[in-house]
């Protein structure tokens, strides 16, 4: 699936028709109240870019039980540095946005982010995380460290598949999150093979994929964020992470809703 990532993104750019439908959809969201804050409009992505393709039954159960425990397994791009970093990184923003979306439900998002961890190394953390927390959902962010370290894409795939299997067996829904779109290092880190593997594993195992790469690429192309900017300041990074939190909230509530819809049709 060589080049699928890049070309898919290019195709998206070539679909201004879809973009034309967006204002209408955005209007619906605003009426619904979920996106009432002005910040949220910034995070907007084309329809279909962030969308739950598969139901999340464990999340639906947890919401019904009024207690939603989530673990974020990831590497350095799941955290932000600096004194206020942990509160501004996407796991914390996700927790806040999801709690606002689900009044009456106790939402807890626990990050397990370690720099430079490959998928295989994270896969070994799964058992202890499951044992310690029994999360209903695990967000598994990976790919960048493997690409930088040049780990065999085949080994990467095996680690992902093993991890997905043990998460399933441990009773957790899964969201795979791929790498960031980083225009400055794009010609230095060959991410496409790893992104393709993640898409492949997500499809094969009916797991939802949060396509962080495509989302950020869209933001960069439409000028929402200037990802080429060199800066020491945290503000853009914080806003980007805030958007991840909001988009994840949308993905997860959609996934939970898919489950309920599925049950209704079964009845």
């Amino acid at each position: 699936m060589t080049g699928a990532v890049v070309a898919r993104a290019v195709l998206r750019r070539a679909l201004p028709v879809l973009a034309g439908l967006l204002p209408a959809l955005a209007g619906l969201w605003l009426v619904g109240g979920a996106w009432a804050e002005p910040e949220a409009a910034l995070c907007q992505v084309p329809d279909g870019l962030v969308q739950a393709d598969f139901p999340m039954p464990r999340v639906a159960e947890a919401i019904a039980a009024k207690r939603l425990d989530i673990a974020v397994l990831g590497s350095a791009s799941s955290a932000l540095g600096g004194p206020a970093g942990s509160g501004k990184s996407y796991p914390a923003r996700f927790e806040a946005a999801l709690a606002a979306e689900l009044p009456g439900v106790t939402v807890r998002v626990t990050p397990y982010a370690k720099a430079r961890q490959s998928a295989a190394e994270m896969e070994r953390e799964i058992a202890p995380v499951l044992a310690a927390q029994k999360p209903a959902l695990v967000i598994w962010q990976t790919g960048t460290a493997d690409a930088i370290r040049g780990i065999d894409p085949e080994d990467f795939r095996v680690a992902l598949e093993d991890g997905v299997a043990s998460l399933r067996a441990g009773g957790a829904d899964i969201v795979l999150m791929n790498m960031q779109f980083s225009p400055r290092t794009e010609s230095m880190i060959a991410v496409s093979a790893y992104a393709d593997v993640m898409r492949f594993v997500a499809l094969q195992h009916a797991v939802n994929l949060f396509d962080r790469f495509a989302v950020m690429k869209h933001w960069n192309e439409t000028g929402v964020f200037d990802l080429n900017a060199a800066t020491k300041k945290m503000d853009m990074a914080e806003r980007v992470h805030d958007c991840f939190g909001r988009l994840l909230t949308r993905l997860v509530t959609e996934g939970a809703a898919l489950t309920t819809q599925g049950e209704k049709t079964n009845d």
Binding site: M1, T2, G3, A4, V6, A7, R8, A9, V10, L11, R13, S75, A76, S77, L80, G81, G82, A115, R116, T144, A145, I148, R149, G150, I151, D152, P153, E154, D155, R157, Q180, S182, P183, R184, T185, E186, S187, M188, I189, A190, A193, D196, V197, F200, L203, Q204, K217, N220, L227, N228, A229, A230, T231, K232, K233, M234, M236, A237, V240
Partner: protein, 385 residues
């Protein structure tokens, strides 16, 4: 004037030149122009074309040398060529280091703390440089030349075998490919993993090209021109196009039968997946069928730029890798809009043509004919095997 008495098949130069342009376009990240390259329309990409034609021309040139002047002289020339490619690779690596060191020093953004990890190897040049010299450390997009070096280094005994028993030689290359697949044989890379282009798998295309050049083409010419084979090739190309479409329009994925998807994916570029190989063969069959060797258009001024690039493939390839770095650098520093992408793509191809023209000119002033009319004593490196 009657057509010049050249045995050189201009189709090889033309398609290698085109392949070099496509490789350049594909190497520029986030480039809208790369939408036109063949990897978006089927399983294989320009790399297959480049490797096959390189094998063909190498055997064409060095096979003749080995017949006329013996094993030692031909081997010496092949190894000198491998050395030239090695030096070119190290030169490109230096340019890459310069770019990456600049970006590492000038770019900072807390959002990309993780991605900055790619610069970590700059902190231990003692290890990195040695690993690069050993061809184990190969940064992104710098994997083709090491493959070419490995293939050339192992080429002398293969040419020897081809001249004695082409059938055995063909059997040997298929056997190596099969063993590489069966036992997962590949060369190690640094800091981990293996070569992105497994030489034990990709040698199949190079060796098959060589086999075709030394008489194989006349043996299979009738077969691959038969309507059945041409029809099969068309069907395969259409099917693979349909599959590739589903990569770009995800909702269509459900039209791919699950059993087929499980059997087919992942399509392995590192080990030259059979599906990629078959796609290349299908393209080659149609090319042989619909582009005749003596086609006058091949000599037209419109195709001249691509033919020129194909005749100086090593220089133009290196130029392309360098230009892709430069294009990405410009896009990061100035603008990464569509206008810029089209601009750097167009200017890049024009510079590649300019470099090829310059190489031809050098050859004329050195008293050699551009385009490699085979002459005794002429440096085979000049005709870019």
């Amino acid at each position: 004037m009657s057509p010049p008495p050249t045995e050189r098949d201009l189709r090889l130069d033309l398609f290698r030149g085109l392949a070099l342009w496509l490789i350049f376009l594909d190497h520029i990240p986030s480039n809208v122009v790369s939408w036109i390259t063949i990897r978006n329309y089927g399983f294989s990409d320009a790399t297959e074309i480049f490797v096959f034609i390189s094998g063909y021309t190498a055997a064409f040139v060095y096979g003749a040398t080995m017949r006329e002047r013996g094993f030692v002289v031909a081997s010496a020339r092949i190894l000198r060529r491998a050395w030239q490619v090695y030096v070119a690779h190290i030169f490109l690596f230096t340019i890459y280091m310069a770019e990456i060191a600049y970006v590492a020093a000038s770019f900072e953004n807390p959002l990309y703390a993780e991605e900055m990890g790619v610069f970590e190897f700059l902190r231990q040049p003692d290890v990195t440089l040695v690993q690069a010299l050993l061809l184990k450390f190969k940064p992104a997009n710098m994997d083709v030349l090491p493959l070419y070096i490995a293939l050339l280094a192992a080429f002398p005994p293969y040419v020897w075998l081809l001249l004695r028993s082409p059938t055995v030689a063909l059997f040997v290359t298929v056997a190596i490919y099969a063993v590489a697949w069966e036992f997962g044989v590949n060369l190690p890379a640094y800091p981990s993993g293996h070569w992105v282009f497994n030489p034990f798998a990709w040698q199949l295309l190079f060796a098959f090209g060589a086999w075709c050049a030394l008489g194989g083409m006349t043996r299979i010419g009738g077969f691959i021109r038969s309507p059945w084979v041409v029809g099969l090739a068309i069907v395969y190309l259409v099917l693979s196009f349909a599959i590739v479409l589903t990569w770009y329009v995800p909702p269509w994925t459900r039209w791919v039968p699950k059993a087929l998807a499980e059997w087919m994916y992942p399509i392995d570029k590192t080990n030259l997946d059979v599906l990629r190989l078959a796609h290349f063969f299908a393209l080659a069959v149609l090319t042989v069928r619909f582009v005749p060797a003596g086609w006058p258009v091949l000599r037209s001024r419109w195709l001249r730029p691509a033919v020129l690039c194909g005749q100086h493939s090593l220089e133009v390839f290196c130029m392309g890798v360098f230009l892709a770095f430069a294009a990405h650098f410009l896009m990061a520093e100035v603008s990464d809009g569509i206008a810029m992408q089209v601009f750097v793509s167009t200017v890049g191809v024009m510079l590649m043509i300019g470099a090829a023209a310059l190489m031809s000119w050098y050859k004329t002033i050195e008293g050699r004919q551009a385009g490699g009319r085979p002459r005794a004593g002429a440096d085979p490196a000049g005709s870019s095997p």
